[in-house]
């Protein structure tokens, strides 16, 4: 069991900073999901924790001990590599035994652990096959098994489910989460899939271009994204962004957009005004916070239905408002009518769920 702390970690490859002063704490027994687009430095964070990459600046602590100079083999870390890194000339069984032999475990113990893992991952008939005789998904299960069988202090997983088919992914995701909770092993889990990150993480860290934008619970990340990037990255379909400008009228703060005027909730107004670097702001609405109406009511904005995408019991509707395309999402049976392509409709925003960002800095303003 161990906690991990990264302090101002910078990693440089040939004059290019892959990580730019990262700070991250993963508590003992916690599962931290690192999520971000490809090339954002997620894997580099894992490699720094594992000791495979040496930061040019910053410190890595495990259990409060500085481990910058501790070689990978002595950190007691198990890692699932993105491309599996299975030993090609060893069967599944031998691949799993390899780390246990290094640890000097007795033969009996090794066999017991391998058999238990085989059952856990339903590998039964595949135990004596070589990696090249296994499908991508099966190889990945072998890779996960090799990391788990060690019972190391820390698990690092680099896209461990990337090669599974959709069904297996969801199944394994839940299994991994349950296992991690049962074993209570500190885990850092890298994925590019924000849905997976939210599903599995006790804590989610959103990364982009070598920096961490936000660390928080899945709910926090979704409900209160700290930056425009997080707001746009997390959630499917993505958040709708509208450019507007701040305006004070009488005692109220408004955001003015060519199509509408949005009152900033009084509780936020002071913070928003104080934090603004200019009048230019971006307002974000999640698809589920846009309402669709057949007839005009109040300050509803006219729109045209552009694309319809059914998703099981939900419907994703692309709407054309003037020059802008917005996406809204609603349960089909709660919509109250059957939308048709090209239909003229009216749109209202649930203003209390507005996310307001500073256009210049991209930061959240409340």
């Amino acid at each position: 069991m161990a906690s991990i702390r990264l302090e101002n970690v910078t990693v440089r490859y040939e004059h290019y900073d892959v990580l730019k002063g990262i700070n991250l704490t993963v508590d003992d027994g916690e599962l931290c999901a690192l999520v971000g687009p490809s090339g954002c430095g997620k894997t580099s964070v894992l490699r720094v924790i594992a000791g495979l990459t040496r930061p040019v600046a910053g410190n890595v602590y495990m259990d409060g001990q500085l481990v910058n100079d501790v070689p990978p083999g002595e950190r007691d870390i198990a890692m699932v590599f993105q491309r599996f890194a299975l030993y090609p000339y060893m069967t599944t069984r031998e691949n799993w035994a390899f780390p246990l032999l290094a640890a000097g475990l007795p033969q009996k113990e090794i066999e017991a652990r391998i058999n238990a893992m085989s059952e856990f991952l339903s590998m039964g008939p595949l135990m004596d096959r070589y990696p090249k005789q296994l499908s991508g998904g099966q190889q990945q299960r072998v890779a996960v098994g090799r990391a788990l069988v060690r019972r190391a202090k820390v698990f690092l997983m680099d896209e461990p489910l990337g090669s599974q088919d959709a069904k297996m992914r969801v199944e394994m995701r839940a299994k991994l989460k349950k296992l991690q909770m049962d074993l209570g092993i500190t885990t850092v889990y890298v994925t590019h899939d924000q849905v997976e990150a939210q599903a599995i993480g006790d804590k989610v860290a959103v990364m982009e271009a070598g920096i961490i934008h936000q660390v928080g619970s899945p709910e926090e990340i979704y409900d209160k994204p700290a930056t425009l990037f997080v707001a746009g990255f997390v959630g499917t379909p993505g958040m709708n962004f509208l450019h507007g400008s701040l305006q004070r009228e009488d005692d109220h703060l408004f955001i003015r957009h060519p199509l509408f005027k949005l009152a900033v909730p009084p509780a936020l107004a002071a913070n928003v005004e104080a934090g603004a670097s200019s009048q230019e702001v971006i307002v974000g609405f999640r698809p589920e916070h846009i309402r669709l109406h057949q007839i005009a009511e109040g300050d509803a904005i006219p729109a045209e239905i552009y694309v319809l995408e059914p998703q099981s019991n939900k419907l994703v509707v692309s709407l054309k408002l003037g020059q802008e395309i917005l996406k809204m999402q609603a349960d089909r049976d709660r919509l109250g009518f059957e939308p048709r392509l090209g239909q003229k409709v009216f749109v209202t925003f649930e203003q209390e769920f507005a996310h307001i960002f500073d256009k210049a800095t991209g930061r959240r303003m409340d």
């Binding site: 070689p71 590599f81 890194a85 030993y87 090609p88 390899f98 290094a102 090799r146």
Partner: protein, 270 residues
């Protein structure tokens, strides 16, 4: 159409094989012929085989020469593979100052024409008192074969994904253990290929062998060349000797043939 193409392909392959194997067949047949049959015109292909040539060969200095050849070739191969793989691994995995220059320098040793260094080597080994000793030829052959081994093996080590070694390191193995337990087994095909080439090169080498040995460490190619006597060439003895001398390489090649095929098509392994 498809069948015809395939048949043509097989016919072509057989033709090529025949062209290459005919000299070998000739030698095999010659080794079982008597002197009269050997020189018969037109050549006879059906005759009563005799083992006399082999018996003669084994009664001469030939077994000693084969032994010398094997000692020298096997030692050269073992040393070249050992040092070559370590050096190649270093070049492949670590950043070394002036790496490109060093690698070219190592390769350039291989470009050295043997004839250019025969005299200097002769003088050096005479001074050291190593003439007509196995060690002299082993040292010289290593000079050529290590550089070859480094170049071939570096390619094979470059092909091994770094992640495999990192995985082993995280699994608790030290760098030397990673090299022995992960990298070397993965470079098997390269090791086999390199070993075959080193072995063949050391067994076949003639120029340096004839210059640096006289009797005690004389190798088989040198010995066989001396069959040309004032009395003419004893073709039967020469053929029998050649066949016996060919066996070690043939046997080794058969043993490692699977690795060899993978090694020859290298770049496609993973």
């Amino acid at each position: 159409m498809k069948v015809l193409k395939r048949a043509l392909g097989i016919a072509l392959a057989l033709l090529v094989a025949a062209v290459f194997l005919f000299p070998l067949l000739w030698v095999v047949l010659s080794s079982f012929k008597t002197k009269l049959e050997l020189l018969a015109v037109p050549p006879v292909f059906i005759f009563k085989p005799t083992l006399q040539n082999y018996i003669n060969a084994f009664r001469s200095d030939f077994p000693l020469q084969v032994r010398n050849s094997l000692i020298i070739a096997v030692s050269t191969t073992v040393i070249s593979i050992t040092l070559g793989s370590l050096t190649a691994y270093g070049f492949s995995r670590y950043t070394i100052k002036g790496s490109d220059f060093l690698q070219f320098w190592i390769l350039s040793l291989r470009m050295l024409p043997a004839i250019a260094v025969v005299v200097p080597f002769y003088l050096v080994f005479r001074t050291l008192g190593l003439l007509d000793r196995h060690i002299a030829l082993i040292l010289v052959y290593c000079l050529f074969n290590i550089s070859f081994a480094v170049w071939v093996l570096k390619g094979f080590f470059d092909e091994i994904p770094l992640e495999l070694e990192e995985a082993a390191m995280l699994d608790g193995y030290s760098p030397p253990q990673v090299f022995l337990k992960v990298s070397l087994p993965l470079a098997r095909a390269g090791l086999a290929t390199t070993a075959i080439f080193c072995l063949i090169q050391s067994l076949n080498e003639f120029l340096l062998a004839v210059s640096l040995t006289t009797r005690v460490a004389e190798t088989a190619p040198v010995g066989l060349s001396k069959v040309q006597t004032l009395m003419g060439v004893d073709w039967g003895l020469l053929s029998a000797g050649s066949i016996v001398f060919m066996l070690p390489v043939v046997i080794f090649t058969v043993i490692v043939r699977n690795e060899l095929v993978r090694g020859m098509s290298f770049g496609r392994m993973r």
